[in-house]
């Protein structure tokens, strides 16, 4: 019973992190182009940061 005092808040906290992470990802446009992202991983590019 005593362990519940730690475990329940931990469970909620971890779940909360997941929720916040999802909302952040949504807001920052991570879901805009799922198909494209899966291809871009394979794109080697030239190793330099994109020109500004």
């Amino acid at each position: 019973m005593n362990t519940l005092i730690y475990l329940i808040p931990i469970a909620l906290f971890l779940g909360g992190i997941g929720l916040v992470a999802f909302l952040w990802a949504l807001k920052s446009g991570q879901y805009e182009d799922l198909e494209g992202a899966s291809w871009r991983v394979l794109d080697d590019g030239d190793g330099k940061p994109e020109k500004k």
Binding site: A11, L26, E35, G36, R40, L42
Partner: protein
């Protein structure tokens, strides 16, 4: 990644480079200013489909000096380009961007602006889904502990924590249902959201009561899970809702704001169109639209009358001919006498027709709405009856209430709420992959019902644009010179030459356009003439009937450019396919009878109507509807727009006039006409799956409801029953993915019969 090796498509694409590209003005108007001299343009590129395409396109665009950033979005098949307005003092031509994309072998179009501007409601819904998902997962964890035997104080603690999670979730995620239910009740109606709102409120209240009184069963998990599933359905449904369209406003943009009025003593005054009265004389310069219906007094020109008859080939006009409002004066200045005020002229009539044409869209009630109409009273009645029934049986208010809540939760339209939107979203995804954009989920329901397909001719059955057919036979230097001259004209044939040439050197010298004849340039090398054979070479020559343009130097024939308007790819096969699907086909054209008859014969359509006005097309649609037919109208022009609205459901190619694209329910992005039978077939499949899903959802209720009414439904049973039924419905919808072949991919290989096979098997 070799699926789209650029080389293979290049050869095919080069000779039509530039065809159908949006004009510079359009691109400027639709681009967004980002400040700091930067503008952003979003272009639809239906052909991108893998990583190599991304690299090719982004590489090609970024290599251009004016391009600041370019990013391809593979999911929405778009590329957004940020470019500098000015480069070294010269104004950038955004058409070069489109041309760059085209040169790499990809088709590109503008999509109607504002079509998918950041949808706020959708974002709110997705956030609500996330919150409900979080809450339902955590409450479920606690509930599983309770079901596995947590007792007394532990159980109460878990119930209390569940209540603390559920309460804010209900407010945050449930607000959509509460708002909608309240809205319906306020207007004395009921909708699917009324039982939902009632069920979640009642079940939460009774659970809270149980928690306070140390009861064994609390329904927090069921409540929040219900919310979660329903919100998923609602979000998908929202994605499929048609957005408000601005077809009429984009039509109004075609109407000139004013015109130069000439008074009796030769004075000129610019007046708004509304103040132009019949009998007044107006000066119209080349490149302007005719503001009101009138008759030409002085001058000759070529007129783009596509708004009247849908034809792209310009009609030569001379003094005495009558002209319609909204038509575009292409080559020479003319003076016209107004014969009607702006509100009585053709453009106003088309706008009026658009407003009047209600079409299938307005009359049609979506399947989900029709189901809700019967469903929600039934559910309420059932819950009420079980409450009254149990009150009679044992008079235990508390028990009767618990049973009533269980009935409400179990019958809550979880599976029903998912039944339609899941199928439609998957079907729309399938269609999109095959190059068809769905603007409204209900359009797929309507498309499944049609029995007649009416097609426009120019631009729909044909590609609608003159295309240079003998580009390879002409010396590059001749083509370049011709392109340099053609740049001075707005004549479609001149534009086709200009588009076909990769370089168009500036021709120095005195250049003038002779209306109805061609372009003449006096240069050091001699007099260049580009135009009809009679104009360029001075002799009538043999009239080939085919559209042709000659470039001559001092009367010497340098090159002959031939054009033709070709059939859309797969036009014939698609018409046959429509016949196999059991649909009757017909042509509605504004063109002359013999031309239409010849084309009808070529594609194998027996019934056709020629020389129809925009109103005539609407009347044809209305007549068919009156005869009990449901019509799919496929058209592209401004003259088709009212008919697109009036038909039960409508479709337009991406190359259509803006108004046509806005008015249509579907837009097909690829060239091939086989998109039409493919869309019909997919919609029919989707319709079948939706009906199956309804059957599954009702079957589930038939089993689950008696259990709930008899009082055997514990929260555990409710949770299992609800999730199983939802999963089954979603799994059934997913079958659509496996069933439909990828028509566009196969069409690209140019194998007509193979491309159509998946559709054929389906019928």
């Amino acid at each position: 990644m070799s699926c789209c090796a650029p080389g293979t498509e290049m050869a095919l694409e080069i000779d039509r480079a530039g065809q159908g590209l949006p004009t510079s003005e359009e691109l400027w108007l639709t681009s967004r200013s980002l400040g700091g001299g930067l503008r952003q343009t979003d272009l639809s590129v239906p052909g991108v489909h893998c990583g190599a395409c991304i690299a090719t396109l982004e590489g090609a665009l970024k290599a251009r000096p004016e391009v600041e950033r370019a990013r391809v979005n593979l999911s929405s098949r778009r590329v957004s380009v940020v470019w500098k307005e000015e480069l070294d003092g010269a104004r950038t031509d955004p058409r070069e961007l489109a041309r760059t994309i085209r040169a790499r072998g990809y088709e590109t179009h503008l999509f109607a602006p504002g079509e998918e501007d950041g949808d706020q409601t959708l974002k709110q819904l997705v956030r609500a889904v996330a919150v409900a998902g979080f809450a339902s997962a955590n409450i479920m964890l606690l509930s599983v502990s309770v079901w596995s035997g947590a007792e007394a104080a532990t159980r109460d603690l878990f119930h209390w924590i569940s209540a603390l999670i559920a309460a804010p979730t209900l407010v945050y995620s449930g607000r959509f249902f509460y708002a909608s239910a309240w809205n319906a009740l306020k207007h004395g109606r009921t909708n699917m959201d009324v039982p939902i709102a009632l069920a979640i409120t009642l079940s939460f209240s009774i659970s809270l009561y149980e928690t306070i009184t140390h009861g064994t069963h609390a329904w927090f998990d069921g409540t929040v899970m219900l919310l979660f599933f329903l919100l998923i359905g609602r979000t998908l449904d929202h994605m499929m809702r048609g957005r408000a369209r601005s077809a009429i406003s984009s039509l109004a943009r075609l109407s000139p704001r004013g015109a130069m009025v000439l008074d009796a003593d030769g004075g000129r005054e610019y007046r708004p169109v509304d103040e132009i009265k019949p009998g007044e004389r107006l000066a119209i310069s080349a490149g302007e639209r005719i503001p009101v219906d009138g008759r030409i007094l002085v001058g000759a020109s070529d007129l783009d009358r596509s708004i009247v008859n849908g034809e792209s080939a310009p009609a030569p006009v001379k003094a005495g001919d009558s002209v319609e409002a909204g038509t575009l004066n292409l080559t020479g200045p003319v003076t016209i006498e107004a014969t009607a005020a702006a509100r009585d002229s053709l453009l106003a009539e088309i706008m009026g027709l658009m407003e009047a044409a209600e079409g299938g869209r307005a009359r049609y009630r979506r399947i989900a709405d029709r189901a809700a109409q019967y469903y929600s009273p039934a559910v309420h009645l059932l819950a009420l009856m079980s409450f009254i029934g149990w009150m009679f049986v044992n008079g235990d208010f508390h028990h009767a209430m618990l049973v009533a809540v269980a009935v409400l939760i179990i019958t809550c339209p979880c599976a029903l709420g998912l039944a339609v939107p899941v199928v439609q979203v998957i079907a729309a995804g399938r269609l999109f992959q095959n190059g068809v954009m769905v603007k409204d989920g209900s359009a797929m329901e309507r498309l499944a019902e049609i029995d007649t397909v009416l097609l426009d001719k120019t631009g729909t059955l044909t590609a609608g644009e003159p295309r240079l057919v003998n580009g390879q036979d002409i010396q590059p230097s001749v083509l370049a010179t011709a392109a340099g001259l053609a740049a001075y004209s707005r004549h479609p044939l001149a534009m086709a030459i200009h588009d076909a040439a990769t370089v168009a050197p500036v021709v120095s010298g005195e250049i003038r356009e002779i209306p109805g004849a061609g372009i003449e340039a006096r240069t050091e090398a001699g007099i260049y003439r580009l135009g009809s054979r009679a104009f360029a070479c001075g002799d009538a020559g043999e009239a080939s009937g085919q559209s042709e343009t000659i470039l001559s130097l001092d009367g010497r024939d340098l090159g002959c450019f031939r054009f033709e308007d070709r059939l859309r790819p797969f036009a014939r096969e698609s018409i046959e396919e429509l016949g196999r699907l059991g649909l009757s086909t017909g042509i509605l054209s504004g063109d002359r009878e013999p031309v239409v008859a010849a084309l009808a014969c070529r594609v194998g359509i027996n019934s056709f109507k020629a020389e129809l006005t925009p109103r005539g097309k609407v009347d044809e649609c209305a007549a068919a509807a009156e005869g009990g037919h449901r019509v799919l109208m496929v058209g592209d022009g401004i003259n088709d727009a009212p008919a697109l609205r009036a038909a039960h459901v409508s479709m337009a190619p991406a190359t259509a006039a803006d108004v046509g694209r806005q008015a249509a329910d579907f837009v097909f992005l690829h060239q091939g006409l086989n998109a039409v039978p493919m869309a019909i077939d997919t919609s029919r499949r989707a319709g079948r799956l939706i009906r199956q899903n309804f059957a599954l959802a009702i079957g589930y209720n038939v089993i689950a409801v008696p259990i709930a009414i008899l009082g055997y439904a514990t929260p555990l049973i409710a949770a299992v029953a609800m999730s199983t039924s939802s999963v089954i419905v979603v799994a059934n919808a997913l079958r659509l993915r496996a069933a439909t072949g990828n028509v566009a991919e196969e069409a690209r290989d140019g194998q007509a019969p193979a491309a159509l096979r998946p559709v054929g098997n389906a019928s």
